[in-house]
């Protein structure tokens, strides 16, 4: 069963087609590495899947529904380019706020659990503006995962993370895969992504260059995919 079904999706910025006839399905429980060079359209595609932007043409089904319905959004976790947490609020207030928006049964308990899991319990009442970069990143990871989403959309998740945040994210992604969550992550870090991924989608200038399983060749030589299916 497809967790994400994308059929003939186009997106324009002005006259420029950022996405051209994108078509692929993502099976439930799989982990897809969304690859492509800068400006290929990975972030645009992730935004459309997350319901943050609308496609100009084409059909898109997320978890058998529309990404803008409340029921579907409750099942999506998004970790975008920005960390998506408020500087003027404490770590606890940030997580409680997002837990309330996610309609968690006990937002305080959920926030406390995720502060513990992200190693931020000791700084729970410290304002985010006083956090180090690594602490902010761990808080952002907690924000994206706190409602145990069925579909995780991660945009360059490993970029600029410190060691602790990378370890946390890898553990959470492994746990998410173990419970059957679907993961789509765009990245430039081929080795980390390909180790986690079960499938690969390569985007070349807004079009799908490759869509299929992650193969042994890709794992042995991350540049193989670009040489064989990348833009000329």
């Amino acid at each position: 069963m497809a967790a994400v079904a994308i059929g003939g999706v186009w997106k324009y910025y002005g006259d420029y087609p950022a996405l051209r006839d994108i078509t692929f399905d993502v099976e439930a429980g799989s982990c897809i590495a969304l690859l492509g060079r800068n400006g290929a359209g990975k972030t645009t595609l992730l935004k459309i899947i997350a319901g943050l932007s609308r496609a100009a043409k084409g059909k898109i089904q997320i978890l058998n529904g529309d990404a803008r319905t409340r029921a579907v959004r409750r099942r999506i976790g998004l970790l975008g380019h920005g960390i998506g947490v408020y500087e003027e609020l404490s770590a606890r207030e940030n997580l409680e706020f997002f837990a309330r928006l996610q309609e968690a049964p006990d937002p305080r308990k959920t926030a406390a659990e995720w502060l513990e899991r992200t190693g931020l319990s000791i700084s729970r009442d410290t304002l985010v503006r006083e956090f180090s970069r690594g602490m902010r990143q761990r808080l952002a990871v907690g924000r994206a995962f706190l409602h145990d989403p069925e579909l995780l959309l991660l945009d360059e998740p490993f970029t600029a993370l410190d060691d602790r945040a990378i370890e946390l994210l890898q553990n959470l992604l492994s746990a998410a895969r173990a419970r059957g969550a679907t993961i789509i992550m765009s990245t430039h870090q081929l080795r980390e992504a390909l180790e986690l991924a079960s499938g690969v989608v390569l985007i070349n200038r807004g079009s799908v260059g490759y869509h299929g399983p992650r193969t042994a060749e890709m794992l042995a030589d991350p540049g193989w995919l670009y040489r064989h299916y990348g833009e000329a």
């Binding site: 319901g51 609308r54 409750r74 975008g80 380019h81 998506g84 003027e88 309330r100 928006l101």
Partner: protein, 226 residues
């Protein structure tokens, strides 16, 4: 109930952040008080003309101070891409819009409550003669400014010149509500009894608030997602 709960969660977050920094409140309040002070040097508080235009002056102050509050409404979501996280959450566009409106409205009311006595002192105006009705006008006029301002604040949040664009866009839309609020404030501050004709302005304000609130709620999702 769910809509109100989610809206209150958003509003409470905005108010909590504002109470920590006080940047919007300090800016709008000091701006409003400076305008009131400067105009008090220009206008003779004892003149009949002054009494006739006092409502207009008061509402211009609220409009300018309100624009500063409304500019920050969505701009505070820009650092760290918080707006993306907010739109990706299960809260609907209408809930986010309502929450933002409530937070801005409360901040605007704080400005109004502080400016009114100052206005009374500087301009020698006894504004307490019909307090109940005056409060109703401040609430209705304030909400009119808030709904229009919040909608356009969401539309202009990604523009480089949003501080300039927001007032330019909202003031023309606000003309009917502004006229009604000024007329009613003039009568109430002047100590006159509201005539039958004056109640038309109340109806204009209420109608304006209802229509633009519904319009804002209906359009919010399209405004956020595009």
């Amino acid at each position: 109930m769910r809509v109100l709960n989610a809206a209150w969660v958003v509003a409470r977050k905005d108010l909590r952040a504002e109470l920590r920094t006080k940047e919007t409140l300090n800016a709008s309040l000091s701006f409003a008080l400076v305008i009131l002070l400067l105009f008090s040097f220009i206008l003779d508080p004892d003149s009949q003309t002054m009494r006739a235009m006092s409502g207009g002056l008061l509402w211009l102050v609220f409009m300018f101070a309100g624009a500063l509050i409304l500019n920050r409404s969505f701009a505070r979501e820009l650092p760290n891409d918080c707006l993306e996280a907010l739109i990706a959450s299960p809260a609907s566009g209408a809930e986010l819009f309502l929450g933002k409106c409530v937070a801005s409205f409360i901040l605007l009311l704080v400005v109004e409550v502080i400016c009114l006595p100052v206005f009374g002192i500087f301009y020698n105006v006894r504004w307490t003669r019909q307090t109940g009705l005056l409060i109703a006008v401040l609430l209705l006029g304030g909400w009119a400014l808030t709904v229009i301002g919040t909608l356009f604040s969401a539309l202009t949040v990604n523009l480089r010149l949003r501080e300039l664009m927001l007032p330019t866009l909202i003031y023309p839309f606000l003309v009917p509500a502004l006229m009604a609020a000024i007329q009613l404030t003039n009568v109430l501050i002047g100590g006159d009894t509201l005539e039958r004709d004056d109640y038309i302005w109340f109806r204009v304000l209420i109608g304006f608030d209802v229509i633009f609130s519904l319009l804002g709620l209906a359009l919010a999702e399209s405004v956020f997602v595009g």
